[in-house]
Symmetry: C2
Subunit: 189 residues, 2 copies
Amino acid sequence: MQIEAPPVDRQRTPADGERRGLIIVHTGDGKGKSTAAFGLALRAHGRGKAVQIYQFMKVPSARFGEHRVFEQLGVPIEGLGDGFSWKSRDLEASAQLARDGWERAAATIRAGEHFLVVLDEVMYPLRYGWVALEPVLACLRERPSHVHVVLTGRGCPPELVALADTVTEMAKVKHAYDAGVPAQRGIED
Amino acid sequence: MQIEAPPVDRQRTPADGERRGLIIVHTGDGKGKSTAAFGLALRAHGRGKAVQIYQFMKVPSARFGEHRVFEQLGVPIEGLGDGFSWKSRDLEASAQLARDGWERAAATIRAGEHFLVVLDEVMYPLRYGWVALEPVLACLRERPSHVHVVLTGRGCPPELVALADTVTEMAKVKHAYDAGVPAQRGIED
């Protein structure tokens, strides 16, 4: 395991039985970080809860399998990126887009109208320095207490691990790519 | 990482660009194994593919958030268990139920009518010895080549890791339970 759990901050430990929003992190180099977030979104929606999904590394026009189903279900899923990781030549424009995207996501979290807000692949703009960590931590700390937030992506900063309630490292044991198997439509996208 | 990747079996490595079904394993002690399987099911369904979900540790009447949504979407999700892990007094009846469930799942995999078959929490009956490993491996090896199979649960046997194309270990870094936070409806079920 690459990431060690820091000591639990007892000040944040609620009384037994308390209902409150969780900060949930899916990190690590393996598959399943985003799909597990989608599974949580599916479950919450199935319980009649309001869900919003933001994707920091997807363009607004992305039409993967998950977009088609969430649209059908009426769960908003919104790409905030420009595909910057592999296409963009204008990094400052990409950084600005990520900052604007974060402001949208932060406003949604603070408004408290959603049971669950997913920040898919938000670790990338954090790692690139396009979105500053401290305002993200502040928004999570100060959010309405019933709001669950799921954050995904490799390289979760230790400060975010410390703040989170539940952190899973999706660790790659093996991957089909490494054996020469190409991405399969309907599985990878 | 608790599980080491065994050497790739080059006889199973397909030519570049080949489209074929994958064996995907979600294991480990962390959260996200089943929800990531649900996310894959969602994605495949969004691509118009036929999906079947079997749950070895859920009763047929389970009505968690995911059951409600998959029912709405027309994706069959079927509990094959009797809640044996914590309720049953009659272990032989539970074992027989698991074996019957496996026979149903194996028939679905072999029939080749589905793009994706999810065997959620199948590692438990394997670990308990209620379902024998060798017939499971044989079914996976002999299945129609286009069928993707996702298997979830702690303690994946090394032989299954060896056979699989993609294996992710969901490792617990920290969990809200450990800080005294109870399970939250809409997140845990």
